[in-house]
């Protein structure tokens, strides 16, 4: 018999408030709640609870709360309860531990140790409510050659650019890992906001071709759903070399999530696990990468920018330097806190480096080598707020990808059980009865609200710094100061300590 592992969280019901409407029971796909006829009241089995808060949010009388269980093994500063439970779980099953969403462990969040400057007296601040504040960003290669024809007129040599109304894009999340309605919400929001969403590696559903102007399609190692029309429909094409949540490994979408629609979109058999390999089997060098970039550019008549996405790893700056010379227009760097629909726990929690450090190093390296204008840089991997966007841009990013916060706008409560396919919020699931819980009419508005709110805040922070164009903030590290960081951290980030 399996070792019993006590519930990490407990469902607590206030009997004075519960009216027995059974909404919690009907809304829990994990079967936590039920009406007990013998007792004549609602009861809960906390052992099934994943703490997604669906019941708490929908309970009309707010009778429910979920608390951390105080059940404990003998206290041990060396063996945490979680470490012990993971051993028991593996002894029960013999399997690799799976997790989802971003690395939750207690590593430093450098964004929280960076402070932003503001103007006082000289170079006065600007009031964004009264004066124009430019947040438009163009992504793509900037160092174009100036050419003139025989008459001396300028020849347009500008390579294709992506225009964003605000320096925020929705990061790659595949159809399969997330639901049709989640994709519909992202696509509609991107269109309304004048930004981009990213298909991830799962192909593009036929219904979403109408959002093509705001769609970035991904070509990953599994090449799911990649065909000529797919490439030519998109505004840009992203080659996924790696993902912050699981650098060095591929993807694994369980067969249960490969519904008929997902199967058609991915061009793979229904119900069979979709496994994307760790490497692209045709890429073993920067030269190979260059071949793929130019194959894609040929296929799309050099009309679309090509993004190369890499995970933030130890030598990311050198890798970025190679990518910047390989013909890519944009580099996306994904930090170790980035989310995922499923990853082996050990990889997610132990591999990769923070986006703040990776970004600063990539920007610095490309500047030193005089190739920073060859590419734009996208920062990804747990951008929590508009303040993080501002800090990322000042550290050298052109714009940021947001994934986790976008899903949270759609209802996600970070229960980190995406891999089960039982998402009570209708996001990370393909079960029709759960998918319908996310109405895109509501979802897209919430995404639009969030990005608009962030944009207002970015404008406020820019105004405070006396900057009226987001481009003037890019790589402007004098606007940043570290707090409580050591010499090495400050050197890697390329910023001074507060007070200096």
């Amino acid at each position: 018999m399996d070792t019993f592992i006590p519930a990490e969280y407990e469902v607590v019901r206030n009997p004075d408030l519960c009216i027995g409407c059974r909404v919690c029971e009907r809304q829990c796909a994990n079967g936590v709640h039920k009406y007990d006829k013998d007792l004549g009241k609602m009861i809960a089995d906390s052992n099934k609870c994943v703490n997604c808060h669906r019941c708490v949010c929908l309970c009309p009388t707010h009778a429910l709360k979920i608390v951390k269980s105080d059940d404990t093994y003998r206290l041990n500063a060396n063996w945490s309860m979680q470490a012990m439970n993971e051993v028991y779980r593996q002894a029960n099953t013999g399997g690799v531990l799976l997790s989802s969403m971003g690395n939750p462990n207690d590593y430093p969040v450098y964004f929280n140790k960076i402070l932003v400057n503001a103007s006082q007296v000289t170079n006065p601040p600007i009031d964004p409510l009264r004066e124009p504040m430019e947040t438009v960003v163009y992504l793509g290669k900037k160092d174009v050659e100036i050419k003139r024809d025989i008459q001396g007129k300028l020849v347009d040599t500008m390579t294709p650019q992506l225009k964003l109304t605000t320096p925020i894009m929705f990061s790659a999340m595949s159809y399969g890992s997330i639901s049709y309605n989640a994709h519909a919400s992202l696509a509609r929001a991107a269109e309304e906001l004048g930004i981009y969403y990213n298909t991830g590696e799962g192909g593009l559903h036929k219904d979403f071709y109408k959002y093509s102007k705001n769609t970035i399609v991904q070509v990953a190692s599994g090449r799911f759903g990649v065909h000529e029309e797919y490439l030519n429909t998109a505004a840009a094409i992203e080659i996924k070399m790696g993902q912050g949540a699981k650098p060095g490994i591929g993807g694994h979408l369980p067969g249960a999530k490969i519904s008929e629609d997902v199967s058609r979109t991915r061009m793979i058999p229904q119900g069979v696990d979709a496994i994307s390999p760790a490497p692209h089997h045709d890429i073993y060098s920067i030269e190979d990468l260059r071949q793929l970039i130019y194959s894609i550019k040929e296929a799309t008549a050099y009309k679309k920018p090509v993004i190369v996405k890499v995970a933030a790893v130890h030598n990311v700056a050198a890798i970025a330097s190679g990518i910047a010379r390989s013909g890519a227009d944009i580099i996306a760097v994904d930090g170790f806190r980035g989310g995922t629909g499923a990853a082996p726990t050990r990889i997610r929690d132990n591999v990769g480096i923070p986006i703040e450090l990776a970004l600063a190093q990539v920007d610095q390296r490309l500047r030193e080598e005089g190739i920073r204008d060859n590419v734009s840089i996208l920062a990804a991997g747990s951008i929590h707020s508009s303040a993080d966007v501002v800090k990322a841009i000042a550290l050298g990013a052109d714009a940021c990808y947001i994934g986790t916060s976008a899903l949270m706008a759609l209802g996600c409560h970070l229960c980190r059980s995406c891999q089960t396919g039982n998402c009570n919020w209708g996001i990370a699931t393909q079960k029709p009865e759960l998918v319908k819980r996310l109405n895109p009419d509501i979802g897209y508005k919430r995404l639009v609200n969030m990005v608009r709110a962030w944009t207002h805040e970015i404008q406020e922070m820019m105004g405070g710094m006396g900057i009226n164009s987001i481009e003037a903030l890019k790589g402007n590290r004098l606007m940043l100061r570290g707090i409580g960081l050591n010499e090495t951290e400050l050197r890697v980030l390329g910023i001074k300590h507060a007070g200096e």
Partner: protein, 149 residues
């Protein structure tokens, strides 16, 4: 006239609308005070169709339809269609014969909990909410209150 419409595509079958309806018409100041009363002392005027295992659910309440079989069949003159087009019930006139309950093709009129008169949805104009409470608290916009041709 603005009416309540149901988008069955988005109905989750959570039955929240029934409880919001009962609360709106209970006159109680806090929803939790419905405890022990819901479904006994007060009945909802909106019902979710589709059983627990059904893939499709939708909430049904008075359509304020043009046929108005209920109005034509009412022996006491308790049911009328007002100038806006809303079907209104006057509980003081209702004699509890429930002819309207038999006539309504949607099953949207039902005996009230006291069994003495019929009850039906009047778009929350007859309680302090003022606008349909089921619509306001539907978590997935499956019930909407809008003007349609």
């Amino acid at each position: 006239m603005k009416r309540i419409y149901v988008n069955e595509q988005w109905c989750l079958g959570c039955h929240l609308c029934e409880y919001e309806c009962m609360y709106a018409n209970s006159g109680l100041d806090e929803m939790f005070k419905l405890k022990g009363k819901a479904g006994k002392d007060i009945l909802p005027r909106i019902y979710v169709e589709g059983g627990e295992k059904s893939p499709i659910h939708f909430a049904v309440n008075c359509r304020h339809c043009s046929g108005t079989a209920c109005v034509n069949g009412c022996i006491a003159g308790a049911l009328t269609k007002n100038d806006d087009g809303m079907v209104v019930i006057d509980k003081d006139k209702c004699v509890g014969c429930f002819t309207c309950v038999l006539l309504c093709p949607f099953g949207a009129i039902m005996p009230a909990a006291d069994g003495k008169a019929a009850q039906k949805c009047m778009l929350c104009t007859d309680n302090i909410k003022g606008e349909p409470n089921c619509v306001k608290y539907c978590p997935n916009n499956a019930i909407v209150y809008e003007e349609r041709e």
